[in-house]
Symmetry: D2
Subunit: 185 residues, 4 copies
């Protein structure tokens, strides 16, 4: 039995919607319990007791949101005691551009995980939508490896996120839970 | 009168084609001469005498190509003497995915420029293709700020690069030349 | 006449002390006015009217502090209107380790600057303390190029920062102001 | 029984010396076989069959050496077939400065590992040499988390590397082998 925690910030609901798909994918793995928590309502005992932590944030001004970073700073207590050492870590981010410096947010998540001495796992997916036969309906249409990237139009709500991003998020959550199960068997 | 040098590696011609659009844009700025050189045929005197250097490489395995990096290592002579200090620097990259870790290549170019004590200039463009009214025909359709990103399908030649990427490359070359002119006036 | 703004967050005073040395260096350049502001007391009109902006933050958990990032998010208004386009940008960070992921914070500052279409300038200094003849008294003893790095012991106040870091900060502020003057002449 | 491969480039012997300490640490873990190979003499069958791959390179001009990057490009065959999926990955780098953009090289290694769908493991060590009680003799004296950093004076051979860096390298190799053993048990 393993526990995967998803800790996210969502400004307008896009990141929460993607987080829910990640949750669905993780929960589909037998023996996995998923904690789902926003950064302003963190259950620290549950977080510290989980086997994997998945970080989620919109990309604002080229990085994780101030709200997420404020949460990250508060993890310094767990850092000091080594409470997250050898947990599995992964991350996802959402912004309105295809790139929009989403890579910078994922890079920060990796740095945070390394400070905590966690193991980092990426998407494990080949890039989609990168040949003449591809389309935006492909899994991993944005071609990300370090973590999950999703994109939603700036003038729309959750309906502005391509459905393939939800499928990709679900596959990503499943992968993280599978890795977590193997690591803790 | 200012001189802008474009130094690039191209494996299959995609990056060279984008480099040519960058060249066209830079050359459109009055008083600008453009040097165009592949990394295996560098004119070091011309490079060291230029006012701006634009780096170009495909993104291979998440970074600049080995050929480009080998060139970058050879710039250590210019580094040692400070020959590139206060030149303008910029960069572009091409790969087959929307992301595909192109940001990693641009990040390396910035690091190289900083080691040389150059000034870094990005695209200066707002992201395109990020609302319900946008499309792939938008300038900066991939939404990059640190440098120019272009994308070409993995199973096609230059015809697999969207025409908007060529327009974006031209606008990018123009911006770098304009910044170079202002810096050296 | 040019105006350089230093906008910083300081948790325990180390970053503020380094910011003051940056200020001193910038103010030493003829014709330069320096605005000095903490992220919780930003004068937005002054910031938007300045010719250069220098970002400063401690490195907390591998990135800029939550307080700094919250400020960075609030710059989205200036981003939307392009208010910072073509300003000079630079940055500095402080932490208790020699590395301690300070590079991650400087990388974020560069990303923020690129989103705003600013020009990035680094230390312009060769690395110190990297040969058998070197010492911690060398300028740029930590060997940083993208921006200024300073280090202060975790169990001390400002007295735990090496005096060479203050000299390096001053030289860095001077360089940024000189670049700003040249760009706006 | 697990196999850990160390694949490295060394220009002047510093990186090879550190690689040997990593090897010693990895080999100290019961049941671990270590492959040791330079990038110009890669045994691809052995590499593809190993349970973990540790990348090593000097930091040249702010990134992995051209020689290492040329090797990384040649791993595209393994990438295409997914041959390295779910292997453990880690990395180390050496340069003459305390920072000297070593973080950029480690960041590239992580990107390479993510493209291959590997799991990344860092130093797992708290930073040393960051308080009034610390010294350069501390383990992890440079304060790195994403991978191993070592430093050797630019005007010296292997004797210019602090002995604590060799101890840190050994502890790092041990950690990677332990993680590999747990992942494959």
């Amino acid at each position: 039995m393993t526990t995967v925690s998803i800790v996210y910030h969502s400004g307008y609901g896009h990141t929460k919607a993607i987080a829910e798909s990640v949750q669905k994918g993780a929960a589909s793995v037998a023996g996995t319990t998923v904690n789902f928590m926003a950064v302003d309502a963190v259950d620290w005992d549950a977080l510290n007791a989980s086997h994997a932590i998945i970080f989620g944030s919109p990309t604002y001004m080229g990085g994780p949101s101030g709200q997420f970073k404020t949460f990250a700073d508060a993890t310094s207590k767990a850092w000091f005691t080594g409470a997250w050492k050898d947990k599995i870590a992964a991350g996802f981010t959402v912004s309105s551009s295809r790139n929009g410096d989403k890579a910078s947010t994922l890079s920060y998540f990796q740095t945070l995980a390394m400070q905590h001495h966690m193991l980092w796992v990426g998407t494990g997916m080949m890039p989609g939508n990168n040949s003449s036969k591809g389309s935006e309906a492909d899994l991993n249409r944005l071609g990300s490896s370090a973590g999950l990237m999703a994109q939603g139009n700036s003038d729309q709500g959750v309906e502005g996120i391509h459905e393939s991003d939800f499928r990709t998020a679900e596959a990503f959550g499943k992968r993280v839970a599978e890795v977590t199960a193997r690591w803790n068997k």
